[in-house]
Subunit: 366 residues, 4 copies
Amino acid sequence: MSLNTFGHLFRVTTWGESHGPALGATVDGCPPGVLIDESMIQHWLDRRKPGQNKYTTQRREADEVKILSGVFEGQTTGTPIQLMIENTDQRSKDYSDIMDKFRPGHADITYWQKYGIRDYRGGGRSSARETAARVAAGGLAREAIKAMVPGVQITGYMVQMGPHGIDRDRFDWDEVENNPFWVPDAKAATEWADYLDGLRKSGESVGAIIEVVARGVPAGLGAPIYGKLDTDLAAAMMSINAVKGVEIGEGMASATLTGTTNADEIFMGPDGPEYSSNHAGGILGGISNGQDIVVRFAVKPTSSILSTRRTITKSGKETEIITKGRHDPCVGIRAVPVGEAMMACVILDHLLLHRGQIGENRGSIG
Amino acid sequence: MSLNTFGHLFRVTTWGESHGPALGATVDGCPPGVLIDESMIQHWLDRRKPGQNKYTTQRREADEVKILSGVFEGQTTGTPIQLMIENTDQRSKDYSDIMDKFRPGHADITYWQKYGIRDYRGGGRSSARETAARVAAGGLAREAIKAMVPGVQITGYMVQMGPHGIDRDRFDWDEVENNPFWVPDAKAATEWADYLDGLRKSGESVGAIIEVVARGVPAGLGAPIYGKLDTDLAAAMMSINAVKGVEIGEGMASATLTGTTNADEIFMGPDGPEYSSNHAGGILGGISNGQDIVVRFAVKPTSSILSTRRTITKSGKETEIITKGRHDPCVGIRAVPVGEAMMACVILDHLLLHRGQIGENRGSIG
Amino acid sequence: MSLNTFGHLFRVTTWGESHGPALGATVDGCPPGVLIDESMIQHWLDRRKPGQNKYTTQRREADEVKILSGVFEGQTTGTPIQLMIENTDQRSKDYSDIMDKFRPGHADITYWQKYGIRDYRGGGRSSARETAARVAAGGLAREAIKAMVPGVQITGYMVQMGPHGIDRDRFDWDEVENNPFWVPDAKAATEWADYLDGLRKSGESVGAIIEVVARGVPAGLGAPIYGKLDTDLAAAMMSINAVKGVEIGEGMASATLTGTTNADEIFMGPDGPEYSSNHAGGILGGISNGQDIVVRFAVKPTSSILSTRRTITKSGKETEIITKGRHDPCVGIRAVPVGEAMMACVILDHLLLHRGQIGENRGSIG
Amino acid sequence: MSLNTFGHLFRVTTWGESHGPALGATVDGCPPGVLIDESMIQHWLDRRKPGQNKYTTQRREADEVKILSGVFEGQTTGTPIQLMIENTDQRSKDYSDIMDKFRPGHADITYWQKYGIRDYRGGGRSSARETAARVAAGGLAREAIKAMVPGVQITGYMVQMGPHGIDRDRFDWDEVENNPFWVPDAKAATEWADYLDGLRKSGESVGAIIEVVARGVPAGLGAPIYGKLDTDLAAAMMSINAVKGVEIGEGMASATLTGTTNADEIFMGPDGPEYSSNHAGGILGGISNGQDIVVRFAVKPTSSILSTRRTITKSGKETEIITKGRHDPCVGIRAVPVGEAMMACVILDHLLLHRGQIGENRGSIG
């Protein structure tokens, strides 16, 4: 079957296909009393908008969100909030010649094998268009977090494009909003621009690695053992189209570290416990420790490239396929706002899960 | 709060602390009619047993499983199955001097901050002892899978210990059960033995990378978008103690690949679709495509090492801590059976989720 | 918090307020390949439509459903289906004078106490308008059931209006669609018409008892112990606005029966087991036994009546309130299609939950 | 499939068969810091114990509960709590002659039809023994409620045995613990004793109606629309073996009331809103309003009576069956502690669901 809802208390159900009338997010469990309106959510969708710069897909979508329920006189009511985005630019004709072929690297063949039916226009439900709904939900989550814990900052950025990584010594938070790649390294931004131009011309594509950091998150969030904060973050990021790996803190590199180098020692600061380092990425035993929560995920290169690929048809006949029209040399760029949105939804969910526990034996220290 | 259940239809709830009377798994949703008895599950626990060789922790546990419900005349009844393991070797005195200190790198501090109370003996609920319950559940899952889809093989093995990886050209499936590291590379097994001896003597520890492969899994498994097969596998592996990264197929390396090199082209084989390669790790759009499902996860080095670490006490006083007694130079070794168990549980869950769909429009090809 | 989703595999999330822009149902888990279009769902909404006859509330709603996702070329795709109904007749001015008062018997006061904010227009989320979304989802469920098990018939009807019950000896299935009350007793239909006219003139209201029967449902449906078929049906009916009691089979009267009179004895028929009677209402141990599934629920009289009631304001000041405008002498009439819709959703959910179990030891008899 | 967990945050999974080695409840999500030990839970089990008086089944069970996890130094840790009860008195020989026959009125036939296998000893999983696990979980829930909201009182009692109801004018809370029927009417207690003696001698059985009241529950609990407090209570009671009807407040009688007589008018008391009556049973729009929460449920007569019944065998052969040995003339008596336990679990679950909402706009009045 299908399962289109994520979250435990802050539950988001996305719906809609690439070429259907609309798509959206049904958000249930948002706390009441959060100040919200369409423009506040639109802000986050505009960051994601394709066609915004010459590096991302030239599909022109207004991506205009409407709030159809759950908000009254400018505040959330605690009832379900329907965020709808109508599809306006679909260019059906781009896809009609591939209705019987399965694009390699895409979900065409597996959707057919699972459901026995697939909306072949633009990938249907498997299209990255679905992530617009997540970004809308994430915009709402950010406002709810603000109301619960002011001071939380969620920022996503690219740390690698294809084989080219950033230089962490040049890391500059302010640079993130300053270039089309959301990369915190001005020099890399310039180099990547040239690199990407080359890819666009050659019709090739590359993958990317995106890092999302949540600062100011209080300690204690996470629901061990199977609702651990890192478990939910891993699931959230892995659910994004084209993601093939997720890391927390040192990630896969943890394997090469020794116990001595990997440990984050603890000492007392003016406001409570502090750590000598953050190899853990802000999560210990699945629970936040108050440090920056650091998540990274890898996006594979799009398989829709402008060269011929071998494939088969629905009836099993071998054939070839070539993608015309839209071509995204690095889909990873647009995953940045999506990663931020997922981080926001998971953090809010866990704030709600953690609060309201009885008694005053909340583990204070000092 | 806490969330100790994983799975959608095949639901496993683990319970029990490192030093409590017992621990176990309450398994709900196992199909009826599966042939099972305690020895079949014990087999998988014995593979995990500490003290089995000189490389893993010298804690001697019988790890003897009892089936307390849900099985009648040698078959599952479809009712909940309680798998219980009594704790027999606990050596409480090893831990009593650290009851007020938080061990760096462990969940001691975050459990205190979240719950305001913690069972300090051996890590309590955060201890890796909990994984014994998962291995038991995984043993049961394997039998149910056998009854549903004979031919599925689930195998886990180490591919890296500390900085030392295997040589894929020497890959030998038969070698996996032949050495204490479950490593499919005989030469690596020898080299790692020496390496680990050195670590034990120096009191240091390292991390590891484990790969788990499921062969013979039919296409069509996975519940898009938020119950995707890779989403559930990522969550499953990330929930294992000390895991910091999860990969599917090419994993984080997907970022550096190009669209051309990353694509798995499709052609027709005698039994249906076949692929030129498996960069995808057997999953497309969150749904299995019939190829080997390949998952990797990184385990960080244990923080319980035999050198002094700086930390604080519950009352915020700075102090030092040193681990005495049990010391595991590479906890990753014991994660191999755990990764296999999680793979089994997730595969079974998705077999159950996928079956029973209406009509005969199951997407056959050819 | 709020929880606006029901169902295990066939999951329906309703959203929308009485006076918001729209309301609807996000349906997840509908099997693929079900033939569906807007007119098939519209059929069920038209049966529910207020203003259809002089006995129900004179609010004129087009109640026109739009399918925004999840359907392609006339078939469900297995992806989420968004069923949206725009609100067109709202008469805000009817409610503006009561924005600070809590209507006795309604959820006004408890929504305020829980959320600290409420959409006071027409009851907001607590309004019975929400049931339009359920009826839409139920229309979809009926089509999916048809595709899985042709021959299932779901019929709801009134058995009591205020103190006036039907005469079961005059029971006639064909009469149900023949009168404005969906009552299977022609004589009662005539008597109730007069009775209701009197109530409308006096400004009074009464309750009702609705019975819903599902015929042709195969044996074996239900997920013991906490997903029993009767448990889910009880929850489904109790969730309908104004419902105060739910019964299965003999219901509350079971208490007065003896073991001898209550037992449904079993014998063999040509097609399998048959029963001497159906006191059980088609469910034994929470699982369907192949007989008619009989559920009854009681709807309390509406508290919006045309006489003055004592109440308080948000600030705690005692005052009086009187309902103007719309007045429904028997809201129970419109609960008939809602009860049918809930029955359909639960039956489909359990068909999906039950199928796909392994092996061929499905308990055949004979 | 099966679903053996109930609750949203306070999640109870029961396991175990009538004649298996043990049964129990895995309780997840209990808040940390609740003072608890085995004797506190044993207290509630002892009230339920069969063989306690001559009116209930003469099966002698120690029903001794053990806490296997989740409690440390006398307090809950917030981790899963395993409550286990070993089965000690099973008298297998009582059932062995019926292994191929289906007892009418029991779940034997439907369990066979659903699972294709059944533990025929004592009803296996469908046996009322399962309710012992619920009573244990309920005992734990009561302690957690005490820690969160002191002053909540949960009391269950019989209001009808067979055709004999109580006289509400003679209602006396103190009488509940004073007689073997938990009936708040001393005269009825005497009359029922004679009545039940007669039934035991004749081998007949009757049903019962149990009422459970929760006093002192704060307003605001419930998670509309599908997690309404009354929805969850209806599901909880309907899940109890042999229950066929559930009512809130006036229940099925709501149908006969008029809008005028049914309304609970609101006025201001010294501590907040008060009501002129409680027809609503303490719940409006699915949310508690601070008044007594009143739930009633009907238990059907046991089908295990000492007279011959017609039935069939697994192979479809018509035959007869007669119950020997244990015979319960009124199983409803033992449902009283079970109803209380379910009320406690649901109330606690909703206390946890409701708390921790943001802001200070909790709807205060006055």
